[in-house]
């Protein structure tokens, strides 16, 4: 038996029957409910304590320091990263080699190890001096007066970040069509003008998305500086819970702030990607 074809209209079709999805949905619902129950009924979360500390001035100061470190290390690291990327792509082989070695070394050593290393630089190098290499010295300072936990944190995070940014920028530059560089040179732009005016702006489309992720991981990475007694967000909550033993609620405060900032940054990243994605191909 067959229906007359003209009677059928797929617009009236019902959704596909997918029993597995019903099962999966039910399982998920149970898991979420169970977790929520755990969060709400477990008294050790001490939600009231977390709420009390959320806007504590010391914690806000720590948050501010984390943000400041992120911005400083990202800015310096990006500038250094662009220079390293340009160096690696240079036809001057020693520069390309040196920049390649830098990237390999600073990407290979865990940032936590680098931070501790810079913090203890005074042991290796008791004085920092300016002068002629192997010749006379003009000025010199004791290293421990120069390397505070702040400078150690900035140096460590920046050098680490620069290595990653160098790779990101290099990939971006390589993604720009060679014809663009030809055209820039043909118009009479110098090598630097071609790079700054034509190649780098077009590389941004490729550079921006991973840089956004990089910014977010750097923000989270700043929590490492707490080991060198730098008063960032994590260190600030540690100072408090070492005194009050309210470890879990204070860690929740830290998590809440990290999550909040990362969420805002992710939204910003999406906007930036849309901005740099247009205008090209």
């Amino acid at each position: 038996m067959s229906l007359a074809p003209q009677v059928l209209d797929v617009a009236s079709a019902r959704p596909r029957i997918r029993p597995l999805r019903w099962v999966a949905g039910a399982v998920l619902l149970v898991l979420v409910a169970q977790f929520a129950w755990f969060l709400v009924t477990n008294p050790r979360f001490e939600w009231a304590v977390a709420g009390k500390y959320l806007f504590d001035p010391n914690i806000l100061r720590g948050l501010g320091m984390s943000l400041l470190l992120t911005v400083i290390a990202m800015t310096l690291g990006s500038v250094l990263g662009v220079l390293l990327a340009a160096g690696r792509l240079s036809d001057f082989k020693p520069a390309a080699w040196a920049c390649g070695v830098y990237v390999a070394v600073f990407r290979g050593i865990p940032p936590l190890v680098q931070l501790i290393f810079w913090f203890n630089l005074g042991y290796l190098l008791p004085r920092i001096s300016l002068g002629v290499p192997f010749g006379p010295t003009f000025v010199s300072w004791p290293t421990n007066s120069v390397i505070s936990s702040l400078t150690a944190a900035i140096i460590g995070l920046t050098l680490h970040e620069a290595a990653y940014m160098a790779e990101i920028v290099r990939a971006g530059i390589l993604a720009v069509d060679g014809g663009q560089r030809d055209a820039a040179r043909a118009m009479g732009f110098t090598a630097r003008q071609s790079f700054v005016k034509v190649v780098l702006p077009q590389a941004m489309r490729v550079i921006v998305p991973p840089t956004g992720s990089q910014f977010i991981s750097l923000l989270k990475g700043t929590s490492l500086v707490s080991v060198i007694a730098m008063a960032d967000l994590l260190y600030s909550v540690q100072v408090i819970y070492n005194r009050t033993y309210e470890i879990v609620p204070l860690l929740i405060v830290a998590c809440a702030w990290y999550l909040a900032v990362v969420t805002v940054l992710s939204l910003g990243q999406r906007r930036l990607e849309q901005h740099f994605g247009k205008g090209q191909r």
């Binding site: 014809g179 118009m187 009479g188 005016k197 077009q202 191909r281």
Partner: protein, 273 residues
């Protein structure tokens, strides 16, 4: 035409690894002269114009623009490559039009035509803007000044590229197959702009696979094969009376075919959205 050539190419050699791309090329181009270069794919035509424009370095011979050695200078009895700044200045005195247009993708059409005038030739932005609008009108695109290159058809992009190259008053224009990446129906709008330039007295080297155009526009025609100039002469001599069997073989491949022929056409179709 005056006596001293605008461009003088003397015994120029260029190698890519073991492969000899240019094998002793000689060519003079005089003021107002239009030279078309034809030859099979891989014969070194692109390499020749890229070398003239200093986008590739040469391995031997010498080239002169208005009597000035290109790419090198004599210092204390030795020839040395020019520093980047002066090389850029020499490039700025020539105009180049690429097969793939290569418009700056992140700038508007207008900015494409303005930028080099300001950064390389020190014109004021207002002056540069006026000149850019004048040139865009000349190539028939005054309405597209604020458009982005990707919004234009291939033919329109190539006309912008021509305006961009003209904006800095080049002594000589170099065209590397300006229509080979175009859909057939867009070829004529570009060729008519080039023809218009030729009538205006512009000194030009044009590499092309458009045989009837190569013949029509040229004062002189050059046939290249395997990195050498095999034959050179007036269009009449080259097309009606080819001396070498190789040129005859090359031309016979074109006779009876449609006007648009290129063996270097990219596989993908141009997107004109």
């Amino acid at each position: 035409m005056s006596d001293a050539p605008v461009l003088r190419i003397r015994n120029v050699r260029k190698q890519f690894g073991d492969h000899v791309a240019l094998d002793g090329v000689d060519l003079d181009v005089h003021e107002g002269e239009v030279v078309t270069v034809i030859g099979p794919s891989g014969s070194g035509k692109s390499t020749l114009v890229r070398c003239v424009h200093q986008l590739e370095s040469i391995d031997g011979g010498a080239m002169y623009l208005d009597g000035e050695l290109l790419g090198y200078e004599m210092r204390r009895g030795h020839l040395r490559p020019l520093p980047d700044r002066r090389l850029a200045a020499q490039r700025g005195r020539m105009g180049m039009v690429f097969q793939q247009f290569n418009l700056f993708a992140h700038w508007s059409v207008l900015r494409n035509v303005i930028e080099a005038q300001v950064t390389v030739h020190g014109r004021s932005p207002e002056e540069a803007r006026k000149e850019a609008l004048r040139l865009l009108e000349r190539v028939g695109l005054s309405g597209k000044a604020d458009a982005h290159p990707r919004m234009l058809s291939g033919g329109q992009q190539q006309r912008v590229a021509i305006a961009r190259a003209l904006a800095t008053n080049p002594r000589i224009m170099l065209f590397d197959e300006p229509t080979s990446a175009l859909d057939p129906e867009l070829v004529d709008e570009v060729l008519s702009v080039v023809l218009d330039l030729a009538r205006g007295g512009m000194t030009m080297i044009i590499v092309t696979h458009e045989m009837s155009f190569a013949r029509e526009v040229a004062d002189r025609c050059v046939f290249m094969e395997e990195g050498r100039v095999v034959e050179t002469g007036t269009p009449k001599e080259i097309f009606d009376n080819p001396a070498s069997p190789r040129l005859r073989a090359f031309l016979s491949r074109f006779s009876g075919r449609a006007a648009h022929i290129s063996d270097e056409r990219p596989l993908e179709e141009e997107t004109t959205s």
